[in-house]
Each structure stands twice: as structure tokens, then as C-alpha cells.
């Protein structure tokens, strides 16, 4: 085979690979969207008649600990904790874990909630950094609150500390700065009451973007499309991921992640599985994969539930610097989890997880940005050399672009047909424009951040990166 025919062969293979990959991603998105749509319709039909307040009548409703790790959240922590204490549920407590904050978080909490040192002994079942003090409130009004002050060990370590402190069978791990729906625990707890044949080991919910929403006293009053353009684009992104993605994976019993901002776990299984892995930055995904493997390896029947209602609202990054750090960290977390659990790849023992979810995450989440970048780079070279026509290249890019816009439009339609949280025509206009611009401006940046994440992983960067938040109080 001479040089010229080798090059022709390479180009042919390359073209087919790129076409196959693009086709695979687009088709998988459509299939997942269809499954999600059908499941959402059935879920909403059934839940239309559910009276969640009924659960308040049951004294033996599942006992739950809300674990909120906090690091340098002094400016907003009081309001956030008040909001957690106002959640509509009988049997719960709130464990705030101060992870060695350098700011005034502890003095703020002591003053606001009349905290005193408690005699509770810390008996860890999962190894963590040293706990300095455990506080409880001297005011009976805050009897549900426990504050743990510990040396800095990262978010996973703080969550493990909370799991150790909890005496309840279920733990809900959240980000302290998230705004929770007042019925969040009622909705999370319901699946635990209904299942009898299989053990519910975890329940996850939908996270939405709270930027520009009206929030008063830690409660979401009105949902609005964010004023900040970057945050607005992330609304579209979250709608696609949670409404059209995770719902389908849940239906297929292949959910590999429960958002770190908000998830409920069976405490016993979480401890037996070893708790959160403190060596990864993708601890949320890693824990759920490990818990599932734990159950499958022991041949125990289990289920991971997904609640599609928007129950948790978080603040999205409003500038590229912070967004870049967040996204490269997510990529590192994905790489670490996929590597740790590589045994699952195409392993029939893990059924949907091993045969579908894991390979999908590997190709569509981990490899996708690499393939996308390499593909475009090589194509540009081939086009410049005159081997591939410019016309074909540009039309292909146009197809990918329009597909991305169409998929966002499907997400907006599904939101309007289901939860209807964006009320006005103005919001729809804002979000539609964001959907049109997103593939040109935002997507290339996420590809860049993912590649950076790969590089950071190779070069040994293990940091989290600071996530500076504006805080909701400014926006009320």
C-alpha cells in the first residue's frame, strides 16, 4: 500500500468514525428524550393526585438527617440553615458540618442559633479528619440542629462526618447554599414507604438554576429566567440533563449519578460501601456507583429512585473563570469514577449499568469532548488540504448546530408540558435565544473546560477550585 492510498484509507475511516459518532450521539439523545417524555408523563399523571402532606400523619415516617457541609459560607449560612429548619417534615434533623472554614461561619451560627457545646461523642464508622466540636442549640426552637466543627478535609470528608454523626436510617446530602422546596423530604421519603420487595438505597432529585429567581427567607417565591446570560444558558443545559437525560436513565435502571447538591441515601448501605471517597472530586457519582456495585456484588435486590420534580435550586456560575473550574472538576470526577469502576465496562453481571450506562458515560461524557475537538481539528486540516470540501464540512457543522438547538427546544417544550416553572412569554423568549446561541458560545467553552480537566488529571491537579457565590440574599 503506497502513501497516497494509505492516506485515502485513513481519511475514509476517519470520516466514517466521525459520522458514526455524531449519529450515535444524536440518536442516543433522541431515544433518551423519548423515554424521558413517556416516563415523565406517567409520573405526573400518577402524582397529580398525591397528597404529600399525608406523610406528616405518619409518626413512623422515615427518619432523616439533612447533612449540609459548609466551607466559608459565613455570609449566607444563617439564612441557609433557617431555610433548612423550615422544611415540611416530622422526623428530621439538620447536621451542618463546618469543614474548617477560614471565615466567621461558626461564630455566626453560634450567635444565630444559640449554640452550646454538646457532650455527644464522635464515634466515626467512616474515617474522617478530626472533629473539633459538636454544637447543639440551647433554644428548643432549634432542637433539630446539630453543628459539627471539624478540620478541613474537603466536601466528601465533611459529608462522611455528617453520616457518622447521624443516628437516622436515612441521610440527605445537600449543598448548604441550595434552596430546597419545602416539601423536599416528603417527596424524597415517599418511595421509601411504597417499596416493599426491593430496598431503596438512594433517591435523587432535580437541581434547577436559581439565579434571578425571587427568594425570600430562604424560600423560592418566583421562578425567573436568569438575567445573566451565562446562567441562562445553564438553565437550558440543566433542563436537558435532568428532564431529558436522567429521567430516562432512571427508567432504564441505569442512573450512575445522583447530584451532589441533593440526594437521599440509606445510611447503613452508604457506610457499608465505605462512604464518600475523599480522594476524588466526583464523590457524588462515585458513591452511587459504589453503592450499586455493593448491592449487586452481594446479590441484594435494590432500587435507586429518581424524583423529576424540581426540588433543589442552586446558584450557577455567572462568569467563565468559575464555570471553567467547575466543568474541569466535573470532568476529572468523571474520569476518576470511570477508572475506579472500570471492571463494570461491558460486564453482564452489572446488567444495564455495565452494558449500557457505563459505556455510554465513557463515550458520550468522557470521550465526546476529546473526539469532538480532534475531529474538528483533523477535518479543518483535511479541508485546508482540499481533501474534504468546505461545503460539506460547513453543512455538517450546520446540521450539528441545528440539532443542538432542536434538542434544547425539546427540553423547553417538555418543561412547559410538565412542570411549567417559567411562567411568562418573556422567559420563553429569553430561554429560546439562549438555546440558539448556546451551541456557538457555551458549548465550545465546555469542550475546552473538559479538555482542561483531562489535562489537569494527567498533570496531577487534585484541587476543587474556589466557587465564589453571589449569594441569594442580594437578589431578594
Amino acid at each position: 500500500m503506497d502513501m497516497s492510498s494509505s492516506l485515502d484509507f485513513f481519511i475514509l475511516i476517519f470520516n466514517y468514525l466521525i459520522l458514526f459518532f455524531a449519529g450515535f450521539v444524536m440518536l442516543s439523545y433522541i431515544i433518551l428524550a423519548i423515554i424521558s417524555g413517556v416516563s415523565l408523563k406517567a409520573y405526573l399523571k400518577k402524582n397529580r393526585f398525591v397528597n404529600y402532606n399525608a406523610l406528616l400523619s405518619l409518626e413512623s415516617a422515615p427518619r432523616v438527617s439533612l447533612i449540609a457541609p459548609a466551607y466559608n459560607e459565613g455570609r449566607t449560612i444563617e439564612e441557609n440553615v433557617r431555610s433548612l429548619l423550615a422544611i415540611n417534615y416530622n422526623n428530621y434533623d439538620v447536621i451542618v458540618v463546618n469543614d474548617g472554614s477560614k471565615d466567621n461561619s461558626i461564630p455566626v451560627l453560634i450567635k444565630a442559633f444559640e449554640l452550646v457545646r454538646s457532650s455527644i461523642k464522635y464515634q466515626p464508622e467512616i474515617a474522617t479528619k478530626q472533629v473539633k466540636d459538636i454544637y447543639i442549640s440551647s433554644n428548643p426552637a432549634f432542637s433539630k440542629l446539630v453543628v459539627v466543627d471539624k478540620h478541613n478535609g474537603g466536601k466528601a470528608d465533611a459529608l462522611n462526618t455528617g453520616i457518622n454523626i447521624s443516628r437516622n436510617p436515612y441521610v440527605v446530602c445537600i449543598d448548604v447554599d441550595c434552596i430546597m422546596d419545602k416539601d423536599v423530604l416528603l417527596k424524597l421519603a415517599k418511595p421509601f414507604l411504597e417499596q416493599s420487595d426491593k430496598k431503596v438505597i438512594a433517591t435523587g432529585g432535580v437541581v434547577r438554576i436559581a439565579n434571578s429567581c425571587i427568594i425570600k427567607s430562604g424560600k423560592l417565591i418566583e421562578v425567573k429566567a436568569p438575567g445573566n446570560f451565562l446562567a441562562r444558558i445553564q438553565v437550558i443545559e440543566y433542563l436537558r440533563a435532568f428532564i431529558l437525560g436522567r429521567m430516562a436513565w432512571s427508567k432504564l435502571d441505569g442512573l450512575l449519578i445522583i447530584s451532589g447538591a441533593f440526594g437521599m441515601f440509606d445510611r447503613e448501605i452508604a457506610i457499608k460501601s465505605g462512604g464518600y471517597d475523599t480522594t476524588t472530586v466526583g464523590e457524588d457519582m462515585e458513591l452511587i456507583v459504589r453503592m450499586r456495585r455493593f448491592m449487586i456484588d452481594r446479590k441484594k435486590e435494590y432500587v435507586v429512585q429518581y424524583i423529576p420534580d424540581p426540588l433543589c435550586w442552586t446558584e450557577a456560575p455567572e462568569n467563565y473563570k468559575i464555570l471553567g473550574k467547575q466543568r474541569s472538576r466535573w470532568m476529572r470526577g468523571t474520569i476518576e469514577t470511570l477508572w475506579t469502576h472500570r471492571k463494570m465496562m461491558f460486564n453482564p453481571k452489572y446488567k444495564t449499568l455495565g452494558l449500557l450506562s457505563y459505556p455510554y458515560w465513557l463515550f458520550a461524557e468522557y470521550y465526546a469532548p476529546i473526539i469532538e475537538f480532534t475531529g474538528i481539528l483533523i477535518t479543518i486540516i483535511l479541508v485546508a488540504m482540499g481533501i474534504i470540501s468546505w461545503k460539506f464540512f460547513l453543512l455538517f457543522l450546520l446540521l450539528v448546530y441545528i440539532f443542538a438547538v432542536m434538542f434544547s427546544m425539546i427540553a423547553l417544550y417538555t418543561e412547559e408540558a410538565t412542570f411549567k416553572r417559567y411562567e411568562t412569554i418573556r422567559d420563553l423568549k429569553k430561554l429560546s435565544i439562549a438555546a440558539i446561541i448556546e451551541p456557538i458560545v457555551f458549548h465550545p467553552f465546555t469542550v475546552y473546560a473538559a479538555l482542561k480537566g483531562n489535562w489537569e488529571k494527567i498533570s496531577g491537579n487534585k484541587g476543587w477550585g474556589e466557587m465564589t457565590r453571589t449569594g441569594f440574599d442580594k437578589k431578594t
Binding site: 397528597n51 411504597e194 446540521l399 408540558a417
Partner: protein
Amino acid sequence: MILSFSAYFIQAIHPLDILLLAISMVFLSAVLFFLMTLFKKMRRLKELNLKKLYQEEIDEILFAFLFENKKNENTFSFPHFTKNLLNPLYKRVAIKSIISLHHNYSGEYSARLEQIYSDWGLANYSMKKLNASKWTFVVEGIRDLSSMNYVKAYQKIQYLRNHKNEMVQTEALLGMIKLKGLQELFKFSNSNLYLNDWIQSNILFLVKKYKIPAPPNLKLLLQSKNESLVLLAIRLITHYKMTPQYDALFTLYQKTESLQLKKEINLELNKLEKTE
């Protein structure tokens, strides 16, 4: 003929044409989804405004009947009322308002609202829902009728316990309890009906919300072979604070092998000790 035409078509078509066709189709789909979203949102906003208008009119009529002692025939003096009452949305808003008021009032007012529900033809409208092929309508119908104490619907609701849909079965059970009281539970003493914690919490909610009285022979349920029913009986006995029945709970605690029942008795008795 068809095969040769297809072969000709495939040869004649250029890859760029396929790409253009795909782009056009995807573009049209994107526009279609946008328009569908816009249409849905506009329709929803219109319906919300309409509901608000209906709500105002219905509130005015209901308050006139309840507090100004107007007679039923006078409804027809309200503009558009007769015409509006043919509209399903208007009926739904009216039923919701009547049920909401019914929750808040008792005695004479409550009876008057029940009368209005019947006189305005809303009870018949709800009864028709019980025959619907869509289970969601059936559940809606049971809920409306039982909320309004429409005892005439009892037979039909009882029959719906055998419906193929689980949500309807549960709603029918709740409806039976709402209409005839907790005595209804005895019908399931020897059945294998499984009342999971979610259904039990709904029954307890009903009991608390509507202040449904305890049946005199409640402790007999403790002898049922249906464990989930026994569990519910324990919860009900402690809810009603039926002190004379506590001995029966102690006896059951000693006799039963079920860990769940033991745990529940323990929990409930501890709670009672604390409150006393």
C-alpha cells in the same frame, strides 16, 4: 419497477442533498417544538386568566348563597351562569371552590354546600367521571364525591375497589372510609389486601383531617390475619388515645412474632408515655 426506481433515486441523489434534507428536517422540528411551546404557554396563560374570572364569579355566587341566604333559583340571575355551567372548566373551578369551602365550614353551611353541589349538577358530573375509561378521571370523581359526602356514590365507589388500576383501588378505599367511616376496614380483615405505609399515612391523614370517629370495636382489628391491617389498627388506637385498648396492644406485643408490629407498638406506646 419500485426497486429500479429506488436504485435510480439513490444513484441520482448527492450526499450533499441528503445533508441538506437532514438539516431542513431538523430545522423544521426545532421550529415546530418552539411553536408548540409558545402555543402551550399562551393557552395556559389564557386558561389561568379564565379560571381567575370564573373563580371570582363562583365565589360571589357561593357567598351569596351561604351568607346572604339567597335561594338556589337565584343563581340564574347571575350573568352567564347557566351558560358557563355547561363549560367543563367552569365546573372544575366550581367543584374546587365548593370543596374548599366545605373543608372550612361545618353544620348548616356544610349541608348547604352539599346541596349546592347536587343542585348545580356537579354531583352528576362527578358521578359520570366514575365511568370514565381514563383512570385519572375516575380518581378525580371519587375524590370529589367523597369530599362532598355524597353517600349516594358509595355503592359505585365500593365497586371500584376491584378496578384494574392501583391508584383507583386506593382512592376507592379512602372514599369508602370517608363516606362510611373506619368500620369499612373490617371488610378486609380476612383479605390479603396490603396497606403499605404510604396508603396508611393517607388513611391517617383522612382520619385527622375529617375528624372521623373511632369505631367502637377497633381492637378487633388486632386479631386480623392481615398484618398490614393490624399495623394500621395499632396506629389508629394510639391516634385515638384509646387507653382501655392498651392491654390489647401489650398482649399483641407478647404474642406476635412480627418485628415490625413489635417496633410499632413500642414506638406508639413510648410516644403516649411521653405525652401523658
